[in-house]
């Protein structure tokens, strides 16, 4: 029996005929549809999880393209009008010698989003392949991805705050560019993608592949 084969390792709730509420943690008997406590929908496994992950991820990646191509900030001062994209801004900061700020912007706006894409893709693919490797590490990676995703919004916040503060008519005005919206969408989509990932699938590899 499969169960016997798994006896030496951990037993999943599903094996035990239980299902846990994802919201409040209440454990129910398998087959219960709605959580008695929080009336949340109970699912032992989300069969559409990977589809959602991929869908949100692709949407996030699509949104990430204009976020990099279009200007993030529209700065118009008395003498000039400049538009800076994310990478352009980083390069400019580096040219000005502000390595620290450049690093922050680069990490928050480029490395983290791209890292998230890669991480989520890796997780999704590994689940699809029923990989049994590094299950713990993958779970940790998922935790990190989910946690760190929101920090990507730091760029958007900076743009939003600057746009709100620097409105001095002709002297100096900062407006958000299309990239700010795209970037925010990209971050939101990847966060949704990360959330759509059912981390329990990581552990199903043992089960579904006898």
């Amino acid at each position: 029996m499969g169960i016997a084969g798994q006896s030496h390792s951990l037993i999943t709730a599903r094996d035990a005929g239980l299902v846990a509420c994802q919201q409040c943690g209440q454990v129910h008997r398998l087959g219960t549809r709605v959580c008695k406590r929080c009336e949340g929908r109970l699912q032992s496994r989300d069969g559409e999880s990977l589809q959602k992950v991929w869908a949100w991820l692709i949407a996030g990646m699509i949104a990430y393209i204009p976020a990099n191509l279009y200007p993030m900030l529209l700065t118009s001062t008395l003498v000039e009008r400049s538009e800076s994209t994310i990478i352009g801004g980083v390069v400019e900061l580096v040219e000005h010698g502000s390595w620290g700020i450049a690093a922050i912007v680069f990490i928050a706006s480029v490395m983290i989003p791209v890292g998230k894409f890669v991480a989520i893709m890796y997780l999704a693919i590994s689940v699809q392949r029923h990989s049994k490797d590094n299950q713990h590490e993958r779970h940790k990676a998922y935790e990190v991805v989910e946690f760190i995703g929101r920090w990507s919004m730091i760029d958007v916040f900076v743009v939003a705050i600057l746009s709100a503060l620097v409105q001095l008519d002709t002297i100096a005005t900062i407006n958000p560019g299309i990239a700010a919206v795209s970037f925010a969408l990209s971050v939101i989509f990847t966060m949704l993608s990360a959330q759509a990932f059912d981390s329990r699938l990581i552990w199903d590899a043992d089960r579904t592949r006898p």
Binding site: G47, E48, Q51, K52, A55, W56, L57, I58, A59, I62, A63, I65, P66, L78, V79, E80, L185, F189, A196
Partner: protein
């Protein structure tokens, strides 16, 4: 629990039936699809809207930077520079720019681009906004969409005329572009109504061609009879009308400018690009108004015998004071044959028949006929001074009343010839030359000679031994007189006289009876008159001195010619006077007179008269009775003695003034000497530098 022992059906691998792929698809896939759709749509939109790529080549691209420099059309941004690069061979800078799709179709071959930079000129500051914002490229094209182009050559200078601007563009031609600058104003009655574009050399390189744009509605003022002229700077012209100074607006003084006016009506409307000439000044422009370039020109020749310097091609030809044409050619031709050959200076006159009062459609033949008619009635050509200072001449056709009969020679030579009459040329050079010639002709040297002769004469007179001897002789005479007076005999005379008088008392009564006293009296009066005459004669010398002094004074202050003439006359007169034998003889004669006098005194002293008197008195005393005989001789003697004394006294008196006389003479001589020096120095100065007469130094 039996199930494990009774193998039933093998446990089913219960799996749900695989749903079809679209059934398994989550709705969440719509999200990336929408995102993709939006992205693609945005990309397409962007691609579709990004405009047409054009390339503008500039010689230099200072201030143009990719991504920043915009392209503006009528101050609206219609594009942006995307890239700046060099053309092959680095000859040009290629500026690639995106132009809005809506505008791109209008970029046909009349589109022009130039870089707007700050420009400070006398007419104001333009492009100031580019100081802060950086340069931009301004484009200009009309509103007709033609065959769109993508390759353009940028202008180095801004094009001043908007393609859509209302007005008219005319082409102006000038011989010299020195006073024409791009942007210079075109003035009409003093207000700016247009401007010049960039001047360029004409195709053959002979003229400067510049487009002028006249803004609407002033363009309606331009007809085919409009004339343009140069108002740049200020012009000072010496014309036949004298000096005229023209100053236009300050901007045109510095930057140059063109003015136009349409004086006469009746011009035809012009089309865009009509060609006009730029005249040097308003006067020439107005004069030319009557010179219809298309009118027929009658060319006649005038043969002058004298120099035509001052006459030039373009000099006016006037008839009764009115301009009827101009000199079109000047050359020398040979008239006559073989030994009779002479060189004549031929001036070809271009005469407009219409200016002869024959109406606009007068033909050349009619005009020639008219002129020929005039010539038989006495019409002659002559050169007349137009302007004394400039020495310009013009040709005038005048009717000479007593002219020798002549006709126009129509057949010989290239042109009909109008006979000439005496020209009226009076130029400054000739006048000045004449003045100098007259000064040269002044008898300055004769004057000097006369003065020197006068000096010589005076010197000779003064050095004459007789003149020198005169004082000595006088002193001797005085000494002798004193001696005579002091002599015992003369001293005795009073005593004797007293005796005689005593005797005479008696005699007087007697004498009264015989009229002796009356005789004596008359003798004395005569003696006095003679003495007065001599004195008068001597007094004339100071008067001459005074005359000379006055003359010198006049000479010092008088005008040159009068002075010279007067001084010459005076000196000649004085010279003549001094040169006469009488004058030369005067001292000698005076000396002789004194000698005679001395001899007389000697005679008197040495027993002549005095002894005789004494003897006579003695005789009288002794022979009282013989008195009656003596009485007849006594009055004569007394009269003679008296006369002598008086004369002596007069001479002494007159010569007592000798010192003053001499001083005056000497002063006179010095004055004359000074005057002569002054004249001589003046003469030298004039000889050396004739100009001084003109310029006063």
């Amino acid at each position: 629990m039996s199930e494990p022992t009774n193998p039933g059906p093998a446990p089913f691998d219960v799996r749900p039936v695989k749903k079809r792929i679209w059934q398994r698809l989550s709705l969440v896939w719509l999200v990336p699809l929408v995102a993709l759709g939006i992205s693609l749509w945005a990309a397409w939109q962007n691609y579709a809207d990004r405009g047409t790529l054009i390339t503008i080549s500039f010689e230099n691209a200072s201030g143009i930077s990719a991504g920043e420099t915009t392209i503006k059309y009528r101050d609206v941004t219609v594009g942006e520079v995307e890239d700046v690069e060099f053309s092959e061979g680095l000859t040009d800078v290629l500026v690639h720019a995106r132009i809005d799709k809506t505008v791109a179709p209008f970029l046909d071959d009349d589109a022009q681009f130039w870089v707007v930079r700050p420009d400070v000129s006398i007419r104001g500051i333009t492009g100031l906004e580019t100081v802060l914002s950086g340069v931009f490229i301004e484009g200009n094209w009309d509103t007709d969409a033609d065959v769109a182009q993508t390759e353009f050559t940028g202008l180095e200078q801004p094009n001043l005329t908007r393609a859509n601007q209302r007005g008219i563009r005319v082409v102006l031609r000038a011989d010299d572009g020195g006073s024409i600058a791009a942007g210079a104003p075109v003035l009409h009655k003093g207000i700016e109504v247009g401007y010049l574009e960039k001047p360029e050399l004409s195709f053959n390189g002979r003229q400067v061609v510049v487009n002028a744009f006249i803004e609407s509605p002033y363009d309606r003022r331009i007809t085919s009879s409009t004339r343009f002229w140069d108002t740049s700077g200020f012009s000072v012209s010496f014309g036949t009308g004298g000096v005229s100074l023209d100053v236009s607006s300050l901007a045109s003084v510095i930057e140059g400018g063109i003015a136009f006016d349409t004086v006469v009506s009746g011009g035809n409307p012009i089309n865009e690009g009509h060609r006009f000439d730029i005249f040097e000044g308003e006067q020439q422009a107005r004069d030319s108004l009557f010179l219809d370039p298309n009118a027929e020109i009658l060319e006649v020749a005038v043969l002058f015998e004298q120099s035509v310097s001052g006459l030039a091609v373009g000099s006016e030809v006037r008839f009764q004071g009115i301009r009827i044409g101009e000199v079109s050619d000047l050359n020398a031709i040979v008239v006559g044959e073989a030994t009779d050959a002479q060189v004549r200076l031929q001036a070809v006159l271009a005469i407009e028949p219409s200016r002869l009062g024959m109406g606009g459609d007068a033909t050349v033949d009619e005009a020639l006929e008219l002129l020929s008619d005039f010539v038989t009635r006495g019409l002659r050509a002559r050169m007349v001074t137009g302007n004394i200072l400039a020495g310009t001449l013009f040709v005038e056709l005048v009717e000479v009343e007593d002219a020798l009969p002549a006709i126009m020679t129509l057949t010989s030579g290239d042109f009909p010839v109008i006979p000439t009459t005496t020209s009226e040329i009076s130029d400054v050079a000739a006048t000045a030359e004449g003045l100098l010639a007259r000064i040269n002709a002044l008898p300055v040297e004769e004057l000097m000679d006369g003065a020197i002769n006068l000096m010589d004469s005076f010197e000779r007179l003064a050095n004459d031994e007789y003149t020198r001897a005169t004082p000595a002789a006088l002193v001797a005479l005085l000494d002798e007189s004193r001696e005579l007076i002091n002599s015992d005999d003369v001293q005795a005379i009073p005593r004797d006289l007293r005796d005689v008088i005593g005797d005479l008392d008696g005699l007087v009564a007697e004498a009264n009876d015989v009229g002796l006293i009356a005789n004596l009296d008359s003798a004395v009066v005569t003696a006095g008159r003679v003495a007065a005459n001599f004195e008068l004669a001597t007094q004339n010398l100071p008067k001459i001195t005074a005359d000379i002094q006055a003359l010198t004074a006049r000479a010092n202050e008088l005008e040159l010619e009068a002075l010279v003439a007067s001084a010459t006359d005076s000196l000649n007169a004085i010279d003549a006077f001094l040169g006469t034998d009488d004058a030369v003889a005067f001292p000698r004669e005076a000396n002789a007179a004194l000698s005679t006098m001395r001899a007389l005194l000697d005679e008197v002293r040495e027993g002549g008269a005095v002894a005789n008197v004494n003897a006579a008195l003695a005789s009288a005393n002794q022979a009282a009775k013989a008195v009656e005989d003596a009485v007849s001789t006594l009055p004569a003697l007394a009269a003679r003695a008296n006369q002598l004394v008086t004369q002596t006294e007069a001479v002494v008196n007159s010569y007592s003034e000798r010192s003053r006389f001499s001083a005056e003479t000497l002063a006179t001589l010095r004055d004359i000497q000074e005057a002569s020096d002054a004249i001589s120095s003046l003469a030298r100065t004039i000889e050396r530098n004739p100009n001084s007469l003109l310029i006063g130094r």
